[in-house]
Amino acid sequence: MSLAEAHVGNGFVISRLWTEKRYRSIFFQIIALALLIALIFFIVNNTIANLQALGVSYGFRFLAQPSNYDINQHLIAYDSTSTHGRAAIVGLLNTGLVAVCGIILATILGFTFGVLRLSNNWVMSRIVYVYIEATRNVPVLLQILLWHGTILNLPTAKNAIVFFSGTFFLSNRGLTVPGPLPEPGFQAVPIVFLIAVVGAIVFTRWAKRVQDETGRIYPVFLINTVAIIGLPVLTFLVTGTPLSWEIAEMGRFNLAGGVTLRPEFMALWLALSFYTAAFIAEVVRAGIQSVSEGQTEAAYSLGLRPGRTTRMIIVPQALRVIVPPLTSQYLNLTKNSSLAIAIGYMDITATLGGITLNQTGQAMEAVMLLMAVYLSFSLLTSLFMNWYNHHTKLVER
């Protein structure tokens, strides 16, 4: 302030910078900018000085060097001669896998529990209530560890629980299911499936236009379902079922063949799904309760049948309330999957942020890359959210 008073005699009064509205915002923004630049400069400067003092090499070259370690679950080809970069991608795919599987299961469970919570069966509603409260109030890390411990207590591989006449094996080495072995001619099935999906989209648009113009309603949902599921199945049968199943057999140590869901994957998947499902259940409950009774009554009085009322009146309105918190739950699930490191599931935090970081010592680069990956997940989700909010915004006329 004293600085400003000293300049009062001059033509320009410095204090106008923060007392007058038109200058004030620019003035403060310049200060903020200056502080931010100073902070960044401070950090970068220190980092460089520290790295130089330690004689540590810096850069992302390590990503091209061989990793020298093995990863048990890799969706793409990988062995210990592959690079650290490839190891990171393997981890990224594993993160994606557990996130997608988790989101699917959590959604199914969450919607089921949310509906059951509103059920008029008192015992059921109470059980779900206890489940929701117990799950929501215990740290997810502990739940992952508990699930992992539970799975480890299953019978050993040699005494595996066998079901579906010797094709499925459940043990503490995981769940082994028959692996699909496509034979020549199988390619037709996914192609037909794609064609069916495209056809369904086109048909839906056409049916909507017809309805807008003439009021005629086609059973769009039924036809589309039949097309998308039926056509590939038909193709599969016509081409002579060109798919065989590889059933696992007990080898010397492990079950050989088939597809195995490892215990680490299962523990993480189940723990994240059940944890997130508790939150989703509350979201769903709030969503359903947010649609007032009058909406149903109004729909009935217009002569809509109960099924159509639910589909066309209740669900769209409930979804507007449900989807935004639901997406943020999906994002939470993806971020929580980074806790895989506690039980040894090889997600990106365990490969890039774990073994690679330890072996190369490039902590700075590895952690930054890791953050960038999660950040891009989050930004993609935000973009979707913004689009959805815009799309379903209440239009007041």
Binding site: A32, N120, I127, N137, Q143, A363, V367, F377, L379
Partner: protein
């Protein structure tokens, strides 16, 4: 009754049919309203019974509560002797045994400071609020020592006490920070808004564990060469930044709920930005946000378990260290269940409180 002809006039109310009232009626309505419902009820009762008995057998009937090592646990159930022997560590970490009264005192002081904040009906609220303002300094001195009290370094902090220290400090410091961020995000100044949005979205976009990696491995690189400070302090900084971003979003929700007319009215009275915020907008916005803030506190509280991954000894870390002792190996289940119960008690009571608040605030709005 049937014989008597109906007479116009007053009749005593007949009781409702016995099948719709009392226990039986309630059960008919809520448990056995249809065949499917009845089956569901029976199945779930059986399920609960099975779970409860096996848990009871493991946790109580066949459990051992006394003993000096795992070999003393012979009954086949849970071995709570580990928890029994190391209970002090689970609560206080490695805080010197002779000094643990200080932790207790801090905790009691914390409850007293919390009282006027949580319950508006507390007596002598004004004085207590003053006390709540001074409390952080008191707690700091009590826990760390100085001023004639024996000093205790933060490496000795651990157990549930560490959880509380991280959780409470995190939320208390992040609250003002979060409010500033929320205001910044709604500001007209484009650049300030950009900084705030960038910060909030960055923090919310990455998992806490990566931020803790930064605290444990990278933060010292960002400071002038040779500076190094306490790991706990670094973790506190990161946890505070983390939770401030979430608080900011909660507060922003509160701000958005305030009708724009309030702002316009304040402006037309000639109030400046800060006065408008301080006197008009924030009191209303914060009131709406309190349940959300409590919820993010619960979230933060649960997330503190992650510090075990970077080597701080929260209850989970203490448990893991105990399991490394050859005397106690193999008792992971007991440790996890115990820590889970510990967290559940705290989180659940807080979520109950948040519900109570929501109800109270709701009533306040309608009257």
């Amino acid at each position: 009754m049937t014989d008597a002809p109906y007479q116009v006039g007053q009749h005593p109310d007949l009781p409702p049919p016995p099948s719709t009232t009392g226990v039986i009626g309630w059960m008919r309505n809520n448990l056995f309203s249809s065949w499917a419902n009845a089956l569901l009820t029976i199945a779930s009762v059986l399920l609960i019974y099975g779970l409860a008995t096996s848990l009871y057998k493991w946790g109580f009937a066949n459990a051992d509560f006394q003993g000096a090592s795992r070999n003393d646990c012979t009954s086949g159930g849970a071995c709570w002797a580990l928890i029994n022997v190391r209970f002090g560590q689970f609560i206080y970490g490695f805080y010197p045994e002779s000094q643990r009264w200080r932790v207790n005192l801090t905790f009691i002081g914390f409850l007293v400071a919390l009282w006027p904040l949580l319950f508006t009906g507390a007596p002598a609220r004004k004085q207590l609020l003053w006390y709540a303002g001074v409390y952080p300094i008191l707690a700091f001195v009590l826990l760390l020592g100085g001023f004639g009290i024996e000093k205790v370094e933060t490496a000795k902090f651990g157990g549930f006490m560490l959880t509380l220290v991280i959780g409470v400090t995190g939320i208390a410091v992040s609250l003002p920070l979060g409010i500033m961020l929320a205001l910044g995000r709604r500001s007209d100044m484009i650049f300030i808004r950009a900084i705030c949005v960038g910060f909030i979205e960055f923090i919310r976009g990455v998992p806490l564990i990566t931020l803790l990696f930064v605290a444990s491995t990278l933060l010292s690189f960002f400071l002038p060469p040779g500076t190094s400070f306490d790991l706990l302090l670094r973790v506190l900084i990161m946890v505070t930044l983390f939770s401030s971003a979430y608080i900011a979003e909660v507060v922003r929700g509160g701000l958005q709920a305030i009708p724009v007319g309030q702002q316009e009215a304040a402006n037309s009275l000639g109030l400046g930005y800060w006065k408008t915020m301080y006197l008009i907008i924030l009191p209303q916005a914060l009131k709406i946000s309190i349940p959300g803030i409590v919820n993010s506190f619960i979230g933060l509280f649960k997330d503190t378990t992650l510090v075990a991954i970077i080597g701080l000894l929260d209850p989970l870390g203490i448990g893991r260290a105990a399991l490394a002792d050859t005397k106690w190996q193999g008792l992971a289940g007991e440790v996890y269940v115990f820590v889970a119960i510990l967290f559940f008690i705290f989180s659940f009571s807080m979520s109950r409180y948040s519900l109570y608040l929501e109800k109270k605030l709701h009533v306040g709005h309608e009257s």
